[in-house]
Each structure stands twice: as structure tokens, then as C-alpha cells.
């Protein structure tokens, strides 16, 4: 309903705009309208079988002169044609002046007058500029030859009647047709469609047959009455005897005024008219077309929206070419097409704007859900611990058994509810993230043929995939690569971000330039500027020569900035300046260096979330995200596992110099595996299998796949720095950290809780400070603080009601029994501090 309303509004606005364009556009628009109409609507009309045009030719000029001819000549022609049986004879001889002595004088005038009177069916063309002589022959009728051009200088119609000295003069063609048909002129005029100015639009006939004057003259001189009779009997004859005057442009080329009357005559005799459509109908039709275009632009999916608008345009153009022929209707061109273009374009823009709004909304929603999730995770864990404590209490005290079991029951219910809530939140998050990815990568509905083509093109740049989603990404990459837009690649580690970055380089116009890949996380902070921008000799200790930085190395090529999410805030600012200004100073240099570098950045961290949480600069984020491509993890592209495995196996086998294949069971095992380390993990796995196994056909056990669960046993072995590092990398997201480490989520939670308590002790109980230390990166401090507050509050709630620190510590030992010993000491310190 809302969409229909928007489409209608757009259609009305577009129609009004098109109306204004045609009304105020001036001669340019008129020219455009008619030129397009001439091109699209071939103005062909049938040729009247009863029309004979006799026109002066070179042979007749050679015999009778090239100036105006003696009227005695015309008198003979009129007599001959009348005797031959012509139904009407039109003559273009001007009647303004008597004949000069050199052209027969009064004798020729009498001859023509006599011949005209004898024939009784002669129609003369009259010039509107000079008066008709009192000595003019007694013709049956006269007709004007006016044909005013349109504003673009082209004649398309003839005014049927003009006023002259208070008398109405009809056009020569109509007057002649009336004499030929022996009908009153008014009868004909009533049947000819005219515009508001009384002009009839002609459908032109470029193939009107013209008989040479010399042919008629020869027949007359030889007295060949039969020849003349065959030529003109029962026909309307228009004689073009005057030297051709100025010609006017018409849709079929330049024609003289009288030749235009011949076309008019043909139109009268064949009904060859173009009918203009009234303004009202044009408005209605335009509105309907614009509404259709707007509706298609809004309602159709993906590229079919633009296709729909184009189809409306093409359909109308086809109508323009096809409809006038059989119907004689002259369809408007500019107004409907302009309205369709405007309405279609506006609808597409509206859609685009809607999609962007939705994207922004989704991003905001995802941020909110994440915060909620962090709190819910903590709540679940807290409840779990409470439940555990309650159970322990039940075991110890049988007296309070009933009461406690009630408490335990209540806790269990709360826990179930909290878990359910968390699961739901997580599902919501996953759904929103999927939506976000789909919105960012555009329509995945590609045809099979397109997919096949894309598959081949992707393989050429080393991207092995059968997944439509990845191929859609690749298609976007192709487009982005051609337009030198910055590309931001997102995705878990090992999903192929560098491969995509290299592909972007190879597919871009810069392919011949250098590709420089830089892992920003691996650069020591103090060397950041020197590495990226270079330095001049002596600018700092150790700078013994001039050195080009990565930016200069990548001049006219592509600079791939991997792990961009790890950049410190001050480095983010410096990078932003270079991206904005395209110039920088080498360390120690006084002159700026200008480079032409295309940036492809990548991060396994969610930079959008970084912006929300404050650890990534928003302006840098928007500068980098020309096109964002979110590479899916391998577990979301199961169809690719087998193909990738085959590829890596082949590489490994080639290195080892032997033939190795995978058993079907092994392929199945690979496909079932979760691959937390993504493609890179798969690659390592197969190389390891080739190296360690001696079998030619690898079985599942040769792959040494570790089950994701059960890794908890390993947990204790990993040191706190490793875990903290992993947590930081995953933005303190418990689930993804657990997946990366291959642990149970609660194990990770316990480790973070322990680290948090330790940090709180170190910071003297200052939660903000502790969170900053733990986060390492100030941008992560907020999320860590949220968790720390939750843990600390829970601890404090757990020891409420105890009289002494000892009793509280004893209770905590039972309640936080999963906390590693080294961290329990921190907890103990916190408890004692509380009671102090």
C-alpha cells in the first residue's frame, strides 16, 4: 500500500516535471520531439493511384527555356490534359502579372484563359504575397501553397485554410482533390483531422510517381492523344511547371511548396494523416507510464528493477515505431519518455536510499544486540555458578534441603530462561548479520550461466569456489576493481582476504603496477611512519640511507593494508590524512611526496562495531569502505570444502613429489568439520596429512581432525597472554574466541573472569582502569568494562551476608571452583579488600 502511494507520488511529480519541460523547454524541445518522432515513426503513406504529378525536367527546360514558360505552352498542356480525361488539373503558374511581351504577351494569356475555360477543371496556385490579376484565367478554383515550418525549421503539415483579403483560400492540394472528386471543399475539410491551429499533419509519401514534363510535351506535339489518355484519364494531375523555387525541409527531405501540396493531395486521396493526441490524453498516458516505471523501480527485485524501467522505455519506443503506421496516431515522444526516465530514476534512487537506511538501521541494531548479548552471557554464567553453589549447599546441609532445593529449582528455571534468551539474542544477531552481509553484497540471485562465467573468472585469479554467495562477492569485486574504489575486506582469519586483495589488483586497470601487502599489526608502533611513508637518510638513528615506504613502493599500484583494525588511534589519523590528501612527508623530509595508490584494506574485526565502540575512527572507516566485501567463513561455504581440499592436496602432493587422493570418508569428514581457522586451517590440515601419511588414499584418521568440543582439557595449558591476545583479537566475543581456541565457551569465560579479577586487584579496584589494561586497546575498553562490572557485581552479591572474609572466601571457593587457582588468589584479595 505504502509502495503504491510512493509510486503514485513519484509518477505525478515526474509527469509534472515532464510537462514543465515540454512547456518551457523552447525550440530545443520541439526540435527533439519532432526529430525523434520523424526517426521513430516513419511517415510513410500509401501512394494514391489516381494522382499524376507532371514536373519540369532537364529535357523540357532544354526545349522551353529555364525561366518561367510562355503561358501558351501551359495552355496547350491544359487542353491536352483535359482532352486526355484528367479529372482535375493543378497548375503552379503564378497569376499575379500579365505575360511579358517576350513570353507571349496578351496572346498567351488569352490562350491560357481560353484553355482553362474550355477544360473547366483547372485549379491555380495563388501566391499570398501578390494580388490575383484581373486578367486571371477563369479557373474552377484557386489554392494556396503555404507550408509554414515548425519551430525546428521542418514542414510537417499544411494549414488547410488561410484568409486572404477577407476571403478564405484553401490549400491547393485540397482544392484540387475537391475538383477531382467533384465535391464541395467543405465536405473534404470536415474529414481531415487538424490540430488546434488548423494545420493538418501529413503522412509523407516519398515515392510519389513523377512524370517528366517533356514526356507530356512530346506527346502533345506529336498529337499522341492515346498516350496522354493512358497517362491521365480519370486522374488528378498536378503540373509543376514553374522553375523550382526555394525548398523547405520536410521529414522526407527538401521539397518545394508545390511539391508539398502534391503530398497534401496524396494525403487527401489516401487518408494519409497523422492525428495528434490531445493534451489531456497525453497527460493521462504519461502518468500511467510514469506510474508503471515507478512501480517497477520500487517493486522489482535487484537489477530487474532497472531492467523493468528500461523495458518500459523500450516498450514505449517500440510503440512509437509501430503504432503510427496502422493508426495514423502521432504519439508524443519527449514528455512520456522524460516522465518514465524521471519516475524510474527517482524510484530506483528511493529504493537505494531505503536500502542504505535499512543498512544503517541493521548496523545500529547489531551493535545493540551485541551489548545485550554481553550482559546476557554474564547473566547465564552467573546463574550457572549460583546453581552450582546451590547444589553444593544441598549436598552439605540436609537440614535446609527442602528450602535449598526450592532455591536450586528456581535458579534452574532462571538459568533455562536466561539461556533461552541468550540463544534467541544470538540467533537474532546471526540473522541481522546475515541480512547485513546480503544487503552489502547485493542480490545473490545470479543465473546459472552467470555463475558459471564468474566461476571461471574467479578461478583465473586463484579463487576456488562454487558458492553463489562467494561468486556474488567476486562479481562485486570485479566491478569495484574496475572503478578505483577503495575496497574493505572483512572476514574471519583464513577466509582469503589477501587472495581477494590480490584479485582486486589483478582485475584493476593498475594490474601492471606493483601490489604491496602490509600487515599493519606486525609493524612496531615506533616504526609505523617509517615503514609506511619511508624516511630520508639521517632522520633517526639507524636511518643510514633513504628508504621508500610502502606507499611509495605501491605508487600506481595497490597497497593492501591487512589487519587494519589493529591500527592504533594515532596511526589511524595519519593514515586518514594520507588517504585524504594523497601526499605525505617521508620521515625527516621537508617536501611532501605525492602518490597514486589504490587502497585495499582488510580486517578480521568488525570495524563497524569498532566505530560503535569507539576503537576505530569513523572517518577512516568511511574512507576505506568504498566497497565492503564480507568474506564468509569456510563453515558457511560447505560446497567449497571438497574443491579447496582437492586443490591443496594437489599442491601438497606436488611438493612431496607423489600422488595422493582423498577417500570419500575423508572428504565427508572434512565437510563436517567446523574449520574455525577457515581455509588456512584446511590448507595446513591437508599439507600436514600429505607430509605425515604414507598412504596414497588418505583416510579420515590421516587428517588428524580435532573435535571442536573436548578441547577444554587443553585450556589449562595455554598461558594467560595467549588467551588474552585471542580475546582481544576477537573483540572479547566469548563465542568466537572459544571457536578460535577450540574451547568450551564457559572455559573462556572463567579465564576472562580470572584475568578480570587480577586486573581489578592490580588497579586497586578501579574498574575503568582495569578494563583499559585488560583491553590493551582503548577502543575495546568499554566492552571489557561491561563484563568486568558484571563479574565484580556478581562476586559482591555472592559474598553479601557473610560475617567474615574467611567465611566468604570459603563460600567463594565452592562457588567459583572452576576458576584457575592463580586467579582465585586475585578473587580472595578482592574479597578481603571488601571486608576490610
Amino acid at each position: 500500500m505504502r509502495r503504491a502511494l510512493v509510486a503514485a507520488s513519484i509518477a505525478v511529480a515526474a509527469t509534472l516535471a515532464a510537462l514543465a519541460l515540454t512547456a518551457l523547454g523552447g525550440p530545443g524541445i520541439v526540435t527533439l520531439e519532432w526529430t525523434a518522432r520523424d526517426l521513430l515513426t516513419p511517415p510513410l503513406a500509401p501512394v494514391s493511384p489516381t494522382l499524376v504529378i507532371v514536373a519540369r525536367d532537364a529535357a523540357s527546360e532544354a526545349r522551353l527555356g529555364s525561366a518561367s514558360w510562355d503561358r501558351a505552352v501551359l495552355a496547350r498542356v491544359v487542353t491536352g490534359l483535359a482532352r486526355g480525361g484528367a479529372t482535375a488539373i493543378g497548375l503552379d503558374t503564378p497569376l499575379g502579372q500579365p505575360s511579358a511581351p517576350g513570353r507571349g504577351g496578351a496572346a498567351s494569356d488569352v490562350l491560357l484563359s481560353h484553355a482553362t475555360a474550355a477544360a473547366g477543371n483547372v485549379v491555380f496556385a495563388v501566391s499570398m504575397a501578390e494580388p490575383v490579376s484581373a486578367l486571371a484565367p477563369p479557373s474552377r478554383a484557386v489554392g494556396h501553397t503555404l507550408a509554414p515550418p515548425e519551430r525546428d525549421g521542418v514542414v510537417r503539415g499544411v494549414p488547410l485554410v488561410v484568409r486572404r483579403d477577407g476571403r478564405e483560400v484553401v490549400a491547393l492540394g485540397v482544392a484540387l482533390a475537391a475538383v477531382a472528386a467533384d465535391t464541395p471543399v467543405a465536405f473534404l475539410l470536415a474529414r481531415i483531422p487538424t490540430g488546434p491551429d488548423g494545420t493538418a499533419l501529413i503522412r509523407w509519401a516519398p515515392d510519389l510517381q513523377v512524370t517528366a514534363f517533356s514526356e507530356v510535351w512530346t506527346a502533345l506535339e506529336r498529337g499522341e492523344a492515346e498516350t496522354l489518355r493512358r497517362l491521365v484519364e480519370g486522374k488528378t494531375v498536378l503540373v509543376l511547371a514553374e522553375p523550382p523555387g526555394a525548398s523547405r525541409a520536410t521529414p522526407i527531405g527538401p521539397l518545394s511548396d508545390v511539391a508539398i501540396q502534391a503530398e497534401l493531395l496524396n494525403a487527401v486521396q489516401t487518408g494519409g494523416w497523422l492525428r495528434l493526441i490531445s493534451r489531456g490524453w497525453i497527460l493521462v498516458g504519461t502518468l500511467a507510464l510514469a506510474a508503471l516505471a515507478a512501480w517497477l523501480g520500487l517493486a522489482a527485485r535487484g537489477s530487474s528493477a532497472s531492467l523493468g524501467v528500461v523495458l518500459v522505455l523500450v516498450g514505449y519506443a517500440a510503440g512509437l515505431a509501430l503504432i503510427p503506421g496502422p493508426t495514423g496516431l502521432a504519439l508524443p515522444v519527449v514528455m512520456p519518455l522524460a516522465a518514465v526516465l524521471a519516475a524510474g530514476g527517482a524510484a530506483l534512487l528511493w529504493r537505494q536510499a531505503g536500502a542504505t537506511r535499512r543498512l544503517r538501521g541493521l548496523e545500529g541494531e547489531v551493535g545493540g544486540i551485541r551489548a545485550a548479548l554481553a550482559r546476557q552471557e554474564s547473566a547465564v554464567e552467573t546463574l550457572e555458578e549460583d546453581l552450582e553453589a546451590a547444589r553444593a549447599a544441598v549436598a552439605r546441609s540436609t537440614g535446609a534441603e527442602r528450602e535449598l532445593s526450592h532455591a536450586a529449582e528456581a535458579l534452574r528455571e532462571q538459568l533455562a530462561a536466561a539461556r533461552l534468551q541468550e540463544e534467541q539474542t544470538r540467533a537474532r544477531l546471526a540473522a541481522r548479520e546475515r541480512e547485513l552481509r546480503a544487503a552489502a553484497t547485493g542480490p545473490a540471485s545470479l543465473s546459472d550461466a552467470t555463475l558459471e562465467t564468474l566461476r571461471g573468472q574467479a578461478a583465473e585469479v586463484g579463487i576456488v569456489t562454487r558458492e553463489a554467495a562467494v561468486l556474488a562477492l567476486f562479481r562485486d569485486l570485479q566491478k569495484a576493481a574496475r572503478a578505483s574504489l577503495p575496497i574493505l575486506l572483512a572476514g574471519e582469519p583464513g577466509t582469503g582476504k589477501e587472495l581477494f586483495a590480490r584479485a582486486a589488483h589483478r582485475l584493476s586497470p593498475r594490474a601492471a603496477g606493483p601490489f604491496v601487502a602490509v600487515n599493519t599489526a606486525a609493524i612496531a608502533p615506533e616504526l609505523f611512519e617509517s615503514e609506511l611513508f619511508g624516511h630520508v637518510r639521517g632522520s633517526f638513528t639507524g636511518a643510514v640511507t633513504d628508504r621508500k615506504g610502502h606507499f611509495e613502493q605501491a605508487d600506481h599500484g595497490t597497497l593492501f593494508l591487512d589487519e587494519i583494525g589493529e591500527l592504533r588511534p594515532e596511526h589511524q589519523g595519519k593514515l586518514l590524512r594520507v588517504l585524504q590528501e594523497r601526499t605525505f612527508h617521508r620521515v625527516g623530509a621537508t617536501r611532501p611526496t605525492t602518490v597514486d595508490v589504490r587502497i585495499v584494506a582488510a580486517s578480521n574485526r568488525d570495524l563497524g562495531r569498532g566505530v560503535t565502540e569507539g576503537w576505530f575512527r569513523e572517518d577512516l572507516y568511511f574512507r576505506l569502505r568504498g566497497v565492503v566485501l564480507s568474506l564468509p567463513p569456510l563453515r558457511e561455504r560447505p560446497a567449497d570444502v571438497a574443491a579447496l581440499a582437492a586443490r591443496f592436496l594437489e599442491e601438497g602432493a606436488a611438493e612431496a613429489g607423489r600422488r595422493v587422493t582423498l577417500s570419500e570418508a575423508a572428504v565427508g569428514a572434512l565437510e563436517r568439520h567446523a574449520w574455525p581457522g577457515n581455509v588456512r586451517e584446511l590448507q595446513q590440515c591437508l599439507r600436514r596429512a600429505v607430509a605425515l601419511s604414507e598412504r596414497e588414499i588418505l583416510a579420515p584418521e590421516d587428517l588428524r581432525l580435532e573435535p571442536a568440543a573436548g578441547a577444554a582439557t587443553r585450556a589449562e595449558g595455554d598461558g594467560d597472554p595467549t588467551v588474552l591476545d585471542c580475546l582481544r583479537r576477537n573483540g572479547f566475543d566469548m563465542q568466537s574466541t572459544a571457536r578460535t581456541l577450540g574451547w568450551d565457551r564457559s572455559t573462556v569465560t572463567q579465564r576472562l573472569k580470572g584475568l578480570g579479577f587480577q586486573a581489578l586487584v592490580d588497579a586497586g579496584g578501579d574498574r575503568g582502569k582495569a578494563a583499559q589494561v585488560l583491553a590493551g586497546d582503548p577502543t575495546l575498553a568499554r566492552v571489557v568494562e561491561l563484563k568486568l562490572v558484571e563479574y565484580h557485581e556478581h562476586l559482591l552479591r555472592s559474598i553479601t551476608g557473610f560475617d567474615s572474609a574467611e567465611a566468604a572466601v570459603a563460600a567463594c571457593r565452592r562457588r567459583f571452583k572452576n576458576l584457575p587457582d592463580r586467579h582465585f588468589r586475585s578473587l580472595e584479595a578482592l574479597v578481603r579488600q571488601h571486608f576490610k
Binding site: R76, T79, G105, S113, H114, R222, G223, A225, E226
Partner: protein, 344 residues
């Protein structure tokens, strides 16, 4: 074509400009405009103020088609001698050729003011007034020409034309007839047309045929075509089948015309079964016989037609060779018209 130099003194013997002028005028009168222009230029070289030579040079240049040059020479002459009537008349003639009607009329009126007896000037003035669309003025001018010289049949013919254009048929037709009687070919055609249509006179197809035959014999194509049309009517042919009455009237008119031919030969007794031409032929009056036979055949006399065909094939011993050109021209026309098969 070599120019006719009989009676013209050779160039080397010319002692002075006057002789060159005489020579130039003589050549001009003979139509050798180029020779005249050369002699007159020589005269003017010897004596630049010789006005008569300059006037004549103007006319010579007009004859050569150099209208601008002619006007220039004549105007120069008139500047030096404004009362040179011949030069002014010549200038008016050239201006008429250039269709400069107001200027021509002005010059002509000046000529007539100085020399009212100049009929040629008055005639040209009539032409100019017609060309200007001044019908009444043209009629008046032609009437004055005829008052001065009633034998000016061209003027009479033109007067009749203008009267006809002014729809004054009753005045026009008698003038056409007078001019026709004097032998004016086109006047004969129009006189015929007036009788055929009964305009300004009683309708008489017989008289019309008589005038048209004479005009056609003088080469007026319209007369020939008018006769052809009348014959088609009489024979019931043509694209639009003529009414029976028209056909009968035409047929009768030709019969009456043939009968009327005998009146020109009072010494002969009219015969009903024999063409007049045959009688004349028997009497040995061969040229007259051929003329009359052609007239009778053209007036739909079958015996005359057959006799002409025989004459064309065989001739008359010693008097008329076979394949006579006049008879051939007639037979060809008759064949084109569908009267008889074409002669071999």
C-alpha cells in the same frame, strides 16, 4: 554564317566616321549586329560625338543581347543630345526587353510628346501598359495606333486580345476578324475560336473551321489541335464520348465547309459526288488542287483523302512528283489522329 557584304564599301577605303556610320547602319538593317557594332565603334573612335553612331551602337548591342551595354550607350547618347528621338525609342525598346516597365513607359511618353506621329512608340507603349496590367490604357494605346495607321494588323490583333481578356468579346471578335481577313494567322485562330464558341458573334462552326484551316495552314498549332478535336467530335471519338447533338453539329459543319469551298471558284459548278480538288486536278490546276484536296480531306472527305493517298503514291505526270512533302505532312497528321494508316 558569312555576313552579306554586297553594297558595303570595303573597310580600307573608309575615309571618315560618317562612312563607318553608314556602313554600320546598313549592316544593322541586314541583321549583322556584330559587324554593325564593330563599324559603329570605329565611327565613334573617329568621331566620339557622333550621336547617330552611338544610338545605332546601342541597337546593335541590343541585337547582340548585351542589354546593359545597349542601355549605357543609348543613355550616353541621350545625355549629349536629349532630343534624339530615335535613340530614346531605341532605349525604350531595350528597357522593354529588360522588363523595366515604368522606365520604358517614361521614355515612350517622352518620345510621343516630342513626336506624336511615331506609331511604333505608341504600339510599344500599349505593350508596356498591358504588361503593367493597365488594360484600359493598353486598349486606348492600341486604338490610337490603329487611328494613326489602320493597317497595323498586329496592333489590331493585340487590341482584340486585350479586349477579350477584359471580357469585351463583342468588341474583340470584329477586330480578330478584320486582322484575320488581312492574313494574320493567330487572329485567324482566335476568330475561329470566337465563331466556334459564339463569343461576340453568332455561333458558326463552319466559319470556325474555315478560319482554323487557314490558321493551321500558316502553322498555328492551336488551330490544328482545334480542328483535330472537332474531327474527333464529328467521328464520335475521344476520352469523353461526345453528345449526339455535338457530333451531328460537327459533322454538318464539316460538310457545309466543304460545300462552301466551291464558292471561291465561281467558274466551277458544285458537284455532290466529287471533291472540288478532283475537279481542279482534272483541269490541270495541280497546286490549287492539292491545297483544296488537303482542306477537303481535313474536313472529313473520304474521296479527297483517298485521292491524296493516290497522289502521294503516284504523283501527276510532269506536274507533281510522287511523295510530295505537303501531302506527306498532312497524311502523317491524319495517321497520328487515327484517321488513316500511316504512309509508308
Amino acid at each position: 554564317m558569312p555576313s552579306d557584304t554586297r553594297g558595303v564599301p570595303p573597310e580600307s577605303t573608309l575615309p571618315n566616321a560618317r562612312v563607318q556610320l553608314d556602313r554600320g547602319q546598313l549592316l544593322l538593317a541586314r541583321g549583322d549586329a556584330a559587324g554593325a557594332a564593330s563599324a559603329l565603334r570605329e565611327a565613334l573612335r573617329l568621331q566620339p560625338d557622333l550621336i547617330a553612331a552611338r544610338s545605332a551602337l546601342g541597337l546593335a548591342l541590343y541585337g547582340l543581347g548585351d542589354l546593359d551595354g545597349a542601355v549605357e550607350e543609348l543613355r550616353t547618347a541621350l545625355r549629349r543630345q536629349p532630343d534624339a528621338v530615335d535613340a530614346r525609342l531605341a532605349l525604350a525598346t531595350v528597357l522593354v526587353a529588360r522588363q523595366e516597365w515604368p522606365a520604358a513607359r517614361e521614355e515612350l511618353e517622352r518620345v510621343l510628346a516630342a513626336a506624336p506621329e511615331r506609331v511604333q512608340a505608341r504600339y510599344t507603349l500599349a505593350v508596356v501598359r498591358y504588361a503593367q496590367g493597365d488594360v484600359a490604357g493598353a486598349i486606348d494605346a492600341y486604338r490610337r495606333v490603329l487611328a494613326a495607321d489602320p493597317q497595323q494588323q498586329d496592333a489590331r490583333y493585340n487590341l482584340a486580345l486585350v479586349l477579350k481578356l477584359a471580357r469585351r468579346e463583342a468588341e474583340a471578335t470584329p477586330e480578330f476578324v478584320i486582322a484575320a481577313q488581312s492574313g494574320h494567322a493567330r487572329a485567324q485562330y482566335f476568330a475561329g475560336a470566337a465563331y466556334a464558341d459564339g463569343l461576340g458573334t453568332e455561333r458558326s462552326l463552319t466559319t470556325a473551321i474555315a478560319w482554323w484551316v487557314r490558321a493551321a495552314e500558316q502553322g498555328v498549332p492551336q488551330a490544328g489541335e482545334a480542328l483535330t478535336q472537332l474531327r474527333q467530335t464529328a467521328l464520335g471519338r475521344g476520352s469523353r464520348a461526345p453528345a449526339a447533338a455535338a457530333r451531328q453539329a460537327a459533322e454538318q459543319a464539316f460538310t457545309e465547309y466543304r460545300a462552301a469551298l466551291w464558292k471561291d471558284f465561281p467558274d466551277l459548278t458544285a458537284a455532290t459526288d466529287e471533291p472540288l480538288g478532283a475537279v481542279l486536278l482534272r483541269q490541270g490546276r495541280v497546286p490549287e488542287a492539292v491545297t483544296l484536296l488537303i482542306r477537303e480531306a481535313a474536313a472529313l472527305s473520304q474521296p479527297a483523302q483517298q485521292l491524296l493517298e493516290t497522289l502521294y503514291e503516284q504523283g501527276v505526270d510532269g506536274r507533281l512528283p510522287a511523295h510530295d512533302a505537303r501531302i506527306l505532312a498532312y497524311l502523317k497528321g491524319a495517321a497520328a489522329e487515327g484517321l488513316r494508316p500511316s504512309p509508308r
